[in-house]
């Protein structure tokens, strides 16, 4: 049922929907988290569905024994929880024996493990006591669909790492959110030149957890980290609020928040940022003619929707028609949200059939949606952009700004190129 309600300090109306949600669960994050944390193993305690999801979300299978697996619950595990814990201990022992290189093992909760109330926090503590002395830490987090939507799995994973981080002695900057290494390196370099060398969460190796303390200031690199932010603040850190680092303007504003917090001279800030900012603007400008004035519709997926809509509106001239997000966090999404035009319909949650009705009425030029909907919408004449690519691709910072604009321009270009194959359909661009 949809309703318009005022929500939080920002008083623009938000359409709140509850119905079928066409989204991934948090387990999906394992697909990119296991690439980032190179000595970690992710053991989902769940069902065949969980294993099948991971395999399907990984898309192309990886030609190796992956650093993730599922302990598939069977009928006898449902009968007695005590036995399920014994079984789990056995599975973990076999796993560590097979993969002695693993330094950090995550037990990942799923829908069935949570419904049967299999306490994985407790199991992780027990297994950690057993295996940590032999070199493998054991932690747990939930990626279940009943608790998490898609990117919230990463949020829970990072939040589980926060209590394990060492104490920081003095002030320091922490960038939170898994980023491709190429992006991380560029941001590290920029921030170091501003005089604020950052630490990153997650680190590439589990032994390099960043120090955290009351002097820690946090820049969130991803908009879906509310649990991680809360965990960091419980350790005394302070999260800096800023637009997310997409495009020339987003990245400048994001860096600026850190510069202000650490008292960087304004002139120095501008001097350091200017070359990258100009490069980003030039790179975006190449795609602007194709994007300008085109109407874009976001279906809810990763919580990246509001920051990306801000980028497309402010920096590419696209017009957001509807911006759907699975969850709206006023505190973290606010800085991007307040820069969107009043005409943009903001929707939180989903009732997919109603949303598709609105989409068909709005007839946007570009629809950002999940893989389950993309081909059916293309077949109806809509031009689509797979939202999952925005999660997997390097899109943050000045040097990815052009690539980010290109991700939205490519479907429009492609539809124009192939116009002869779909006679009778209006071309997406002229």
């Amino acid at each position: 049922m949809g309703m318009l309600a005022a929500s939080g300090p920002c008083t623009r109306p938000v359409l709140k929907e509850r119905g079928q949600r066409e989204v991934f669960c948090g387990l999906t994050g394992i697909v990119w988290l296991h690439r980032k944390l190179q000595d970690a193993f992710f053991l989902v305690v769940g069902s065949r569905t969980c294993a099948h999801l991971l395999q399907s979300a990984a898309g192309v299978m990886i030609f190796a024994e992956p650093r993730f697996a599922t302990a598939v619950l069977e009928e006898k595990d449902l009968a007695g929880l005590a036995d399920a814990h014994d079984e789990l201990d056995g599975v973990v022992a076999r796993l560590i024996e097979r993969r002695p290189d693993v330094r950090l093992l995550f037990l990942v909760g799923s829908c069935p493990s949570e419904v049967i109330k299999l306490d994985l926090d407790k199991a992780a503590k027990r297994l950690d006591a057993r295996w940590a002395p032999r070199g493998t830490r054991v932690l747990s987090w939930s990626g279940s669909g009943i608790e998490t939507t898609f990117t919230q799995g990463e949020d829970n994973c990072l939040a589980s790492l926060v209590p394990e981080c060492p104490a920081a002695q003095g002030p320091g900057l922490l960038v939170a959110g898994a980023l491709p290494d190429v992006v991380e390196d560029r941001l590290r370099d920029l921030l170091a030149r501003l005089g604020i060398p950052p630490a990153f969460l997650p680190p590439r190796r589990s032994g390099d957890l960043p120090p955290i303390g009351p002097g820690t200031r946090v820049l969130l690199a991803q908009p879906f980290l509310s649990e991680t932010a809360a965990a960091l603040e419980r350790r005394g850190a302070r999260v800096l609020e800023a637009p997310f680092p997409f495009g020339a303007e987003g990245t400048t504003a994001w860096l600026h928040a850190a510069a202000r917090a650490f008292g960087v001279e304004e002139m120095h800030f501008r001097a350091v940022v200017a070359p990258g900012r100009e490069r980003a603007k030039r790179a975006i400008a190449r795609h602007r003619p194709l994007l300008e004035g085109r109407r874009v519709f976001f279906l809810p997926d990763s919580q990246l929707e509001i920051p990306l809509a801000r980028f497309l509106w402010e920096e590419c001239g696209m017009v957001p028609v509807e911006v759907g997000t699975p969850w709206l966090h006023q505190r973290f999404h606010g800085p991007d949200l307040e820069r969107l035009p009043p005409s943009a319909r903001i929707a939180e949650g989903q009732d997919v059939d109603r949303q598709l009705d609105r989409l068909r009425a709005d007839r946007p030029d570009l629809t950002v949606c999940g893989l389950g909907l993309a081909n059916p919408l293309e077949a109806q004449g809509f031009t689509t952009k797979w939202s999952i690519e925005l999660v997997f691709s390097p899109i943050h910072g000045f040097d990815q700004a052009g690539d980010l604009a290109e991700l939205f321009a490519r479907p429009l270009r492609r539809r124009a190129l192939l116009a002869s194959l779909a006679p009778g359909e209006p071309a997406a661009c002229s």
Partner: protein, 515 residues
């Protein structure tokens, strides 16, 4: 608890989705948590379907668990019935909803819906995808078939057959159905209903009017075929027409049931059959006795193993399937081949078996393709689980005479051609032919500096050391068999407790492994 890295089959509700998506005019409501909608993308991306699967998910979340999930389900059913107005409504639960015990079938039956409701029991913690598809298809048939509609007397009309089993996300089902239609047309047999692929509720209702059922995919259609056999006394054709010989046997079996003479049709149809001559022609001599490992669903694995041995001349050294429900068929075939069957859904076990047997070719699923790539063995995919590559744009059945032609090509193509093999042997000493030299027509091409690293699974605990002379001799062996020669020699040396491999050891091993 079973530790699973990759899985051959999804959960049973994905099987139910494969049946619902294959059909027209039906809708499935699944009681399932948020996230289970991932399964939609299997159909829209892997199979490139241009419609959403006709499936509504309740997508409950933690906050709903404290409230009334049963009411959530009733609401979803009411809305789906009103929005999609299906001719029949299927209801079931995924693994998590099964634990809630909300009884989707019972709930839906109390809503007074205008269309028939088919309740599905899909036990997720003991069954898998193929079982779920078979059970769903069986329940659809059982609930929707009209028991009063039976085959009228023949009286000069054309005999009719139902094709049972093709579904969404099947391995080449689209083209197999077209090919089998052609075979039946040659025999003068009319296709009455194809189900579940493309069938509407009204088509299921008239299944009993056919003279016989053809069970193309036992994994999906067997339970329904048995039900129809019991209910309508329709005979079932169980020969699966994969391969040249099997296709001939299939046509004879169909004709036998219907009192037709198959020979004129076979003669016409066999003109399109190229496999027999392609296989007998002398350039194919090099295929003789190549050692192959065959793995897939039981039906495809057994049929392809026969093609490999009887129609291509390979030696089948391994045969297995991942679906235990049909293990008996695979065991029987393995006994006929005189080998140990590999019945497992554990991908690591299949990998270990392939590494141990060291076949020259793997005929398997996408998962074996992954294993074979790692072990540097050529591979052709012959069975589900499917991948986007298994939905080619061109016509490529595996059933019927054209299917046998397709099989010949796809099975043989990953191998180095016979003549090429001879030429490589002949010119192996040639200075510009050694692989270190790089391609001679690309002057600037960088030569590969060393052999790619060997896969970890075959690394021995204490590998014997190669002398410089033996290593140099090994380099004279063409690159595409060098890895195998190295492995064989090392296995030979290890078995005999040799610490050091000399040129003599290399040739001793060669004669030991020679057939």
């Amino acid at each position: 608890m079973q530790l699973t890295a990759w899985t051959y089959e999804g959960p049973p509700h994905v099987g139910a989705m494969r049946v619902a998506t294959a059909m027209a005019g039906v809708h499935l409501v699944l009681h399932a948590p948020q996230g289970d909608t991932y399964a939609d993308l299997l159909f829209t991306m892997i199979e490139r379907r241009d419609h959403r699967p006709p499936v509504t998910f309740t997508t409950f979340q933690a906050r709903d668990l404290g409230a009334d999930t049963a009411e959530l389900f009733r609401g979803a059913v009411r809305e789906a019935a009103a929005r999609f107005r299906p001719e029949a409504l299927l209801v079931g639960a995924s693994c998590t909803a099964e634990l809630l015990q909300d009884d989707p079938g019972g709930l839906a039956s109390t809503l007074g819906l205008s269309m028939p409701v088919v309740p599905l029991e899909l036990p997720s913690y003991s069954r898998k995808e193929n079982w779920g598809a078979a059970e769903t298809f069986y329940q659809v048939v059982r609930h929707l078939v009209d028991r009063s509609r039976r085959a009228p007397p023949r009286d000069g009309r054309r005999p009719r057959a139902n094709l049972l089993g093709p579904a969404a996300l099947g391995f080449r089902h689209r083209d197999d159905v077209a090919e089998v239609r052609g075979l039946l047309d040659e025999l003068g047999v009319e296709v009455h209903v194809v189900a579940p692929l493309g069938a509407r509720a009204a088509d299921i209702a008239r299944l009993g009017e056919a003279d016989l059922n053809i069970l193309l995919y036992p994994e999906i259609g067997d339970a329904a075929a048995r039900f129809l056999e019991r209910t309508f006394r329709q005979p079932t054709v169980r020969t699966v027409p994969i391969g040249h010989g099997a296709t001939i046997a299939f046509m004879r079996e169909v004709a036998g049931h219907l009192g037709l003479d198959p020979e004129p049709a076979l003669e016409r149809a066999a003109r399109r059959a190229r496999l027999p001559w392609w296989s007998r022609s002398v350039d194919s001599t090099y295929l003789t006795g190549k050692r192959v490992f065959v793995f897939g669903d039981a039906t495809h694995a057994v049929a392809i193993a026969r093609v490999a041995r009887d129609e291509i001349g390979f030696e089948v050294v391994g045969l297995g399937c991942y679906n235990r429900e049909f293990a008996r068929e695979v065991r029987a075939a393995a006994a006929e081949f005189g080998i140990e069957p590999t019945i497992t859904d554990d991908w690591l076990e299949v990998e270990a078996r392939i590494a141990e047997l060291q076949p020259e070719l793997v005929l398997g699923t996408q998962m074996e393709r992954m294993i074979a790539k790692r072990l540097r063995i050529p591979c052709t995919v012959i069975s589900a689980p499917v991948h986007v590559q298994d939905f080619p744009a061109r016509y490529s059945p595996v059933m019927g005479f054209e299917g046998a032609n397709v099989l010949f090509d796809t099975i043989v193509h990953p191998l180095v051609m016979g003549l090429e093999e001879h030429l490589l042997m002949m010119f192996r000493e040639d200075f510009e032919f050694r692989d270190e030299a790089g391609p001679s027509h690309l002057a600037t091409a960088v030569a590969p500096s060393s052999e790619p690293s060997r896969p970890a699974v075959v690394a021995a605990a204490r590998a014997p050391v190669w002398t410089a002379e033996a290593e140099a001799e090994l380099k004279k062996i063409p690159f595409f068999v060098r890895g195998k020669a190295r492995r064989n020699t090392e296995a030979f040396a290890t078995e005999r407790g040799l610490d050091c491999i000399t040129v003599e050891t290399l040739y001793d091993a060669k004669s030991h492994f020679a057939r």
